[in-house]
Amino acid sequence: MRDRKPFPKRRRPTANRTPSLSSRSSLDISHEFMDLALEAAHCRELPTFLAGLAARASEMLQSQWGAVAEIHANKVELHRRNTTIPANDKQRDWIISKVNVRRPGLEVLPCERDHSFCVFFPIYASDHELMGTLCLRRSTPEMSSEDERLLAALASYAALVMEKVRRFSQLERSKKQWVEDIDAISDYIVVHDQAWNIVRTNRSLASHIGIPPVALVGEAMRSLRHIAETGSALPCPFCQNTHEQREEYTATGQGRTFLVSTSRTRGATEEEGRTIHVLKDISDRREAERRYRELFDNIQEGLFFATPEGQFLDVNDAMVRMLGYESRDELLRADVSAHLYPTRAAKERLVRTITARGTLRNYEEVLRRKDGSLLHTLQNISAVRDAQGHIVQIRGLMLDVTEQKTFQSQLQRERDFNQKILNTTQSMILLLDTAGLISYANRRCFEAGYRQEELIGQRLVRLVESSHRQDFEAALQTTANGQQVENLELRVKRSDGSVGHFSVSLSPSRDESNQVNSVVVVMTDITDAVLLQAKLAHAEKMATIGRLVSGVAHEVNNPLAAILGFTDLLLEDPKVPESAREELQIILRETQRTKEIVQGLLSFARQRPAQREPMQVNSILRQTIRLRSYDFSSHGVEVTEEFNENLQLAMGDPQQLQQVFLNILNNAYDAIQESGNHGKIRISTRQTMGYIEVAFIDNGTGVSEPDRIFDPFFTTKPAGKGTGLGLSICYGIVRAHGGEILCWNNEGESGSTFVVRLPIASESALAAAATEAGR
């Protein structure tokens, strides 16, 4: 910029200079400039001064009029004494169009239409900014070098004053702005000097005290002591160490907390040093911080801030407790992440997920406490990223759900246990709603053959036999009223259509409000048990009878022996007359008959067979059938044999067994004869569950009371035909062989079935029998 020299070089006055248009003396000019200087010194208003300067220039250079065009950033302002010039807008516009031109110096331009001329001289600031242009209207374009110099002097004088005024107003503006800025700051600002007197305060501080800011200037800093208590012994309540250039601390006063920031400036001399205190009211922030900290410390959930690598930066007490550490410091000090995660993979999984997703909600993680025990947690984690998107911190909230987990797994175990019971029990377990509809059936129900659609959503009562339905409905009602019903015996339709004997228990199940909302039904098929019980009762009865008849038989045997013996002796006595002899024969016959009865009773009550040898049941059967085959074929009774030819051996007395089989065959034959049917006897043998089973199925009249058929003296045959001991003896023999004999009427057809079961001989019994035979 320095090379640009808008001003013409000042030339020394020379002898051959062009004659000036003016005829003023140097003295006049000096006076003019002195006046100008005085005007400048007292200049309050730049426009007035510039208009005066333009008028003076016009006069000095014999012009028609003069003006100074002041150039602002975006407009041009014309300053002149006589405001009627220029004469019209057009002229004015022309002039304005010419003034805002950076010309190096003087320029004279002819005016349009009226033969006059306009002289333009630029006014540059010291930094070469074009501040304005001096304009003169003249009748002639001629300008002497003297005139030009005068013009340059005037322009530079104008520049000087304009620049001064501008700077001054700029300074004023900036000072005003500065005060406004300072006043706009809500923090309290006070500046004091070395003598501890207030130099400045901002509006916030002044209004806090309740007086205008200027009123505080010059007051002692001591007067501000009430704002905040710092305990400082110095005359300024906010200064603590005057040797420090900067200080920062918090102070409290009037219930507020202030962050006091102090800066000290050093002036040219010691006296000029200033101390600036800024008091920032941080009460709210402190309160917020306090609340946050309180929350952070007292919350039951664990809170943590950690590096992306897992090193804790801050944790709350709950977190410390959760992880089983002594103190926050211990947890923060330790590099826990390796210990915390039971597996490396768990930690990597977390880092991977958080990197990908940024936040994790209800993230389940098992952590390890300090003592090594496991902690089940539920975490909410968020990642804090920097501008580049890198994770710089991980923040999280952690819930200890170990108890819930333990409870949950205990619940799971219990559920599994219950499920196992439900699934493996031999009872059918069903859940009914209060309307009696089945909503659940355990596995056993389906194993028993019921189909899903037969049960779920159906009424259970449908499975109950109609004669028992009322009982069931009553029990259901009782249970719905909250009472348990146990061991109700019902006949229930099985999945295959057969009817079984079931023990049914109903228990009410209640909801949270203790209302019965469903009924648990446990049904057990006790048909077999009922049968077994009947069998047991029968066996017990037979044993009782056995003991009774055995005792009776023994007691009868002695007198019988005497009667029989003396009758024999009398019959041998030749002195006994013939007539008496006949009567003695009758006594003898009846005694013999009594003897047979007693022996029959004894064989019924017998505990073990007379003989024990290996027996081929099939061959004993065949021999027995052969004994009666003539009778059978001559009476048209058809006998079919369905023998399992691979039967194992049984141990016992073949004679006695033959007696049993014969007895059963005789019974069948009699029953067939009685019925008048075309007789059929089907005899089958098979092996089942350690027993050899022989079944005799006839199509005779059947048995009136199958349960009593084996009782001694129970007979359906006419009096005199049979003693009523035949089947009792069979019963005694089979029982003595460790077997059982059963009888029932055929279902759906005439006739009855007798079954004899004999235990298969054990290896040891066969070996013992072989040794016995070899002796």
């Binding site: 023994h554 002695n558 022996a561 013996g565 003396f566 024999d568 002796l569 005694t591 064989s603 007379a610």
Partner: protein, 130 residues
């Protein structure tokens, strides 16, 4: 009908039932046997300890401390010469105590009620004729 032979040692009959022992005694005496009759096992053992007998007929089931099985056992132990001169009388041969006594033994057993012929033939076979 022969009378009793006084030179022959008598038969000891141990039977608690008077009617039975009366019949057995009458039947035997008619055949010429001498019979000493006691009504309990204990008394039978006392007789056996002091007197000489050609044989012993004993009921198995008897009241008191000594039953037929005990008598049988005592004879095997103390009068082995009489070991095969014992006849047992039983109310029920099929009952288990009788079975265990008789199994593995050659001692004959007559089951009540029995005929005179049955008794005499067993006695003659076991003790010989009088």
């Amino acid at each position: 009908m022969t009378g009793t032979n006084p030179t022959l040692a008598p038969i000891l009959l141990i039977e608690d039932e008077p009617s039975v022992s009366a019949f057995v005694r009458a039947a035997l005496e008619r055949k010429g046997y001498r019979v000493v009759q006691v009504s309990s096992g204990a008394e039978g053992l006392r007789q056996l300890a002091t007197e000489t007998y050609a044989g012993v007929i004993s009921d198995i089931r008897m009241p008191g401390d000594v039953n037929g099985a005990d008598v049988h056992h005592w004879i095997q132990q103390n009068r082995p010469e009489l070991g095969d001169h014992i006849i047992l009388i039983s109310g029920d041969t099929a009952n288990s105590e009788t079975q265990s006594l008789l199994s593995g033994s050659t001692t004959p057993c007559i089951e009540k009620p029995f005929r005179v012929q049955q008794l005499i033939s067993t006695v003659e076979k076991t003790f010989g004729k009088p």
